[in-house]
């Protein structure tokens, strides 16, 4: 498999490199924005979606109560305003009166209540039901301990008001409502069509586009939703499902696609291309220790490994615009603090290891590092192996494991050191920090700290941004400096090509592709695409002057 892919890339590199770049062409579908999803969306049912492919389509078909602005702050979307009561234990959302479904019916608070309770219904078996576990009764209802959905703390007070009762104050709760699993749903539509309601002709949404066609495994087409408060200016969207990146790029170069994401290994070839853009993402890669396994129970050993890493090599090895990180909360998020963490200090790393009883790496057992099989993860792992050998004199055996088998392994019996990543579900540091609390299912380190847990819990309830950051700073010091059960490595960037014909494209750091303003014009004129990183609501809720569109490339 690897060999085959390598070969494809070599062949394509040769061919694409020698041919002049041809843009334009593709008269068919002019005005339609064409891009690639790379895979079939597993579902278009918001309650059930868990993956980026489904999200990329869904976020253009529907909207939630809130959305993001350019700085990923939560701003109004389906709701015009909200207030928190009872010291943050109650949140009341006021829906916009002009919200309409694609079949013309008004969007009501009842549609949100139905969707949220359906998300929590154990029969729905929604994997992301836990997004609402801070809502009163939600977890019990989902676990089957509470039979009456009426006791779940979500209720429509009237058509325009949704009230949520929380079991603890959660300052970022309105932020969570940006997420697709909490989009509203139509009870009548789902009752009529059952699980198949997401097919074209049945699907009813409240976003800028309607679902025009869905040829499974091949193409999803969206048409502008004329009933949306601000219908998209373009003629629609075609999402293809081209699996092979080389072919995707060949299609882009022929002008058959207007937008293409770049895989890391394709980036060097396109970095100087005029259509190339790069944008940091809220997605971080880290290596974790199994603190239950010797010798990683000793924090000095863990610190030594973390200090021995020169994280500056990753952008050079991986070519994807990676931003090295020693702390865990990624840049672009509240409480990001680059000064926290263990910087590259080989002498101190050696000192830590010697203090733990392994001077010069003598007596240190050969350790095993596991990672999921992929080109980028392999390059990163090999780089780490060399660095640890060089700096600490330890022998490291690498083992790559197929993805699903890998996930099983690290959630049951992780090796001494293992790799994983995390992408933000909502742009709040809580989403990154609560991963490593004692009760988190994502914490595979075998490490826990009551103080860390208390700091993260306190930060989730803290309304003052400065005080919140202080709490997270303290928690991050435990996570990345003193206890160091994980080694944050880098934050990823999204790299992509946009045709100069495209206007009004929105990509944010959560990897959303918002197409509500996109237009595909003829070639010529300003030969630069306008790529805006700003969320749609910046245009719509515009009491402030519209921001100058910013180029996505950093």
């Amino acid at each position: 498999m690897i060999h085959r892919r390598e070969f494809l890339k070599l062949v394509a590199a040769g061919a694409l490199g020698t041919s002049a770049l041809r843009c334009g062409g593709g008269a068919a579908g002019a005005g339609v924005f064409r891009t690639n999803l790379a895979a079939e969306p597993p579902t278009l049912d918001p309650n059930l979606c868990t993956d980026n492919v489904s999200l990329r389509v869904l976020t253009n078909l529907m909207e939630g109560l809130t959305a993001y602005d350019a700085d990923l702050r939560t701003i109004p979307a389906g709701a015009t305003r909200w207030e928190t009561l009872d010291g943050g234990r109650r949140v009341r959302f006021h829906l916009r009166p002009d919200g309409r479904w694609s079949d013309g019916r008004p969007v009501t608070a009842r549609d949100f209540e139905f969707s949220w309770k359906r998300l929590l219904d154990p029969k729905t078996a929604a994997e992301y039901a836990y997004f609402l576990f801070d809502v009163e009764g939600a977890e019990d209802y989902n676990a089957g301990k509470l039979d009456d959905p009426g006791k779940v703390g979500v209720s429509a007070l009237d058509d325009g008001t949704l009230e949520v009762r929380l079991r603890r104050p959660v300052v970022f709760f309105p932020t969570i409502t940006t997420f697709a699993v909490l989009f509203p749903l139509r009870e009548d539509v789902i009752a009529r069509h059952g699980e198949g309601w997401t097919e074209p002709g049945r699907f009813v949404g409240n976003g800028p586009y309607t679902l025009e066609g869905w040829r499974h495994e091949y193409k999803v087409t969206l048409a502008p939703n004329a009933r949306f408060r601000r219908p998209p200016p373009g003629r629609g969207v075609s999402f293809f499902m081209v699996n092979e990146r080389t072919v995707e790029l060949a299609l882009y170069e022929r002008g058959d696609l207007d937008f293409a994401f770049l895989a890391p290994l394709d980036i060097p070839r396109y970095e100087r291309h005029p259509d190339f853009h790069r944008k940091p993402m809220l997605r971080a890669d880290y290596y974790g220790f199994n603190c239950r396994k010797k010798p990683f129970g000793d924090p000095r050993v863990r610190r030594a490994f973390s200090r021995a890493i020169d994280r500056g090599v990753f952008p050079r090895v991986l070519h994807g615009g990676e931003i090295p990180m020693t702390s865990w909360i990624p840049p672009g998020m509240l409480a990001h603090e680059p000064s926290i963490g263990l910087a590259h200090e080989v002498e101190r790393a050696r000192g830590d290891l010697a203090a733990a009883g392994f001077p010069g790496g003598r007596g240190f057992p050969e350790i095993e590092v596991a990672y999921n099989a992929a080109e980028e993860t392999k390059l990163a792992a090999e780089s780490l192996q060399a660095q640890w050998r060089e700096a600490l004199g330890v022998r490291v055996r690498l083992r790559q494991v197929e993805w699903k088998a890998y996930l099983k392994e690290i959630s049951t019996d992780p090796p001494g050191i293992w790799r994983l990543g995390w992408g933000a579900d909502y742009p709040d540091p809580d989403n990154f920090m609560n991963l490593f609390t004692a009760t988190s299912g994502q914490n595979h380190t075998g490490w826990s700290s009551a103080r860390f847990d208390a700091l993260v819990a306190a930060a989730a309830e803290e309304t003052d941004r400065a005080r919140r950051k202080t709490l997270y700073d303290q928690a991050q010091r435990i996570l990345c400096e003193t206890d160091a059960p994980i080694m944050p490595l880098y934050c990823r960037a999204q790299n992509y090509l946009v045709s100069p014909r495209v206007r009004g494209l929105t990509i944010n750091a959560m990897d959303y592709l918002y197409l509500g303003h996109v237009r595909v014009g003829p070639l010529g004129g300003a030969a630069r695409p306008e790529v805006s990183s700003e969320a749609r609501a910046d245009y719509e809720n515009a009491p402030r002057p519209p921001r100058r569109p910013r180029r996505g490339a950093a």
Binding site: A125, Y130, F133, Y218, V242
Partner: protein, 311 residues
């Protein structure tokens, strides 16, 4: 005759049951499950998901449930494509694979038989050498190499056909050619050896002596007798081509079922893996039966119930 066919069908059903059982068991041995994700699920949610798809039941119960559903023609829900059944998925994708496969089969057969016949009749001469060189290349080159080279030449450099996607007849040209090349090469080699074998038979010499022309000799006397080994190959070939090819569908972005041989396993989409396996196995069984039956028609000396063996 009817009895023989019914007997073969019954045997086929048993074969299918063995295939289903083995696949079912092997899948559960592979580590990692359909709902293992980067984000690990809280236990209560995992329990809900398992309950929804009956994964919380004992393996024997799951197996019994599955067998009884399959007997009713229900291949179950896909674990990956939520809300779609495996029947839906295969109904959407099988026709595409079959369409492409039939094109590839038709062209592969024509090319292979023509080349093999020419090579056999003109043994040792230039057409023979060229055809066998082509056949060796066709067998040796994997589809992903052929596919990419064809894209580069015909789509990228010459711009004659689209490089990928499945929009219209022009989009079928490259994938059908890629898919049909290896079968064409096999068929050419088999046809050639069949022709060589037949050419040395006395009746050919007799026909020549009677003054039968080359074309008539080739088509009427040689080909009909030389084609039997090729027909044997047709059974598995037919099943292979109709159920799609992972590589060809992947390279050309064709919405067929071939992709599931790999992706469904990667996703641990148990019912979908079972579904494609069953369809493939059933086609192999049926195609082999059809081939055996066709022998009788092609060569009256052959008795399919095994009482008499072809010379």
């Amino acid at each position: 005759m009817t009895r023989t066919v019914l007997g073969r069908l019954a045997l086929g059903a048993v074969t299918l049951w063995v295939v289903i059982t083995l696949t079912f068991l092997f899948l559960r041995v592979v580590p990692g499950g359909p709902f293992d994700r980067e984000r690990r699920l809280p236990p209560e949610i995992e329990a809900n998901v398992n309950a929804k798809f009956h994964l919380d039941e004992p393996l024997a119960a799951q197996y019994a449930r599955y067998l009884s559903a399959v007997a009713r023609g229900d291949l179950g829900p896909s674990f990956k494509y939520l809300g779609r059944s495996v029947n839906d998925v295969l109904r959407d994708t099988f026709p595409v694979s079959a369409h492409l496969g039939l094109l590839a089969l038709a062209y592969g057969t024509m090319l292979g038989v023509a080349a093999g016949l020419a090579a056999g009749m003109l043994r040792g001469r230039l057409p023979d050498r060229l055809a066998m060189l082509g056949a060796t290349v066709g067998i040796s080159l994997p589809a992903f190499v052929v596919g990419i080279l064809l894209i580069l030449l015909f789509a990228h450099t010459l711009g004659l056909v689209p490089p990928a996607l499945w929009e219209g007849p022009a989009h079928t040209v490259l994938p059908a050619f890629t898919l049909g090349l290896a079968p064409a090469a096999y068929i050419a080699r088999l046809t050639r050896s069949g022709v060589l074998d037949v050419m040395s038979r006395p009746y050919i010499i007799a026909a020549r002596a009677k003054g039968v022309g080359d074309a008539r000799l080739a088509l009427r006397h040689v080909l009909r007798n030389a084609i039997l080994p090729v027909v044997t190959l047709f059974g598995p070939l037919f099943a292979d081509l109709l159920t799609g090819s992972f590589v060809v569908e992947y390279i050309y972005s064709i919405p067929g079922m071939g992709r599931f041989y790999i992706t469904a396993v990667q996703n641990r989409d148990y019912p979908l893996i079972m579904g494609v396996t069953i369809v493939y196995a059933a086609l192999v069984i049926l195609a082999n039966l059809a081939v055996d039956l066709s022998y009788r028609w092609l060569d009256p000396r052959v008795k399919i119930d095994g009482k008499e063996v072809a010379p």
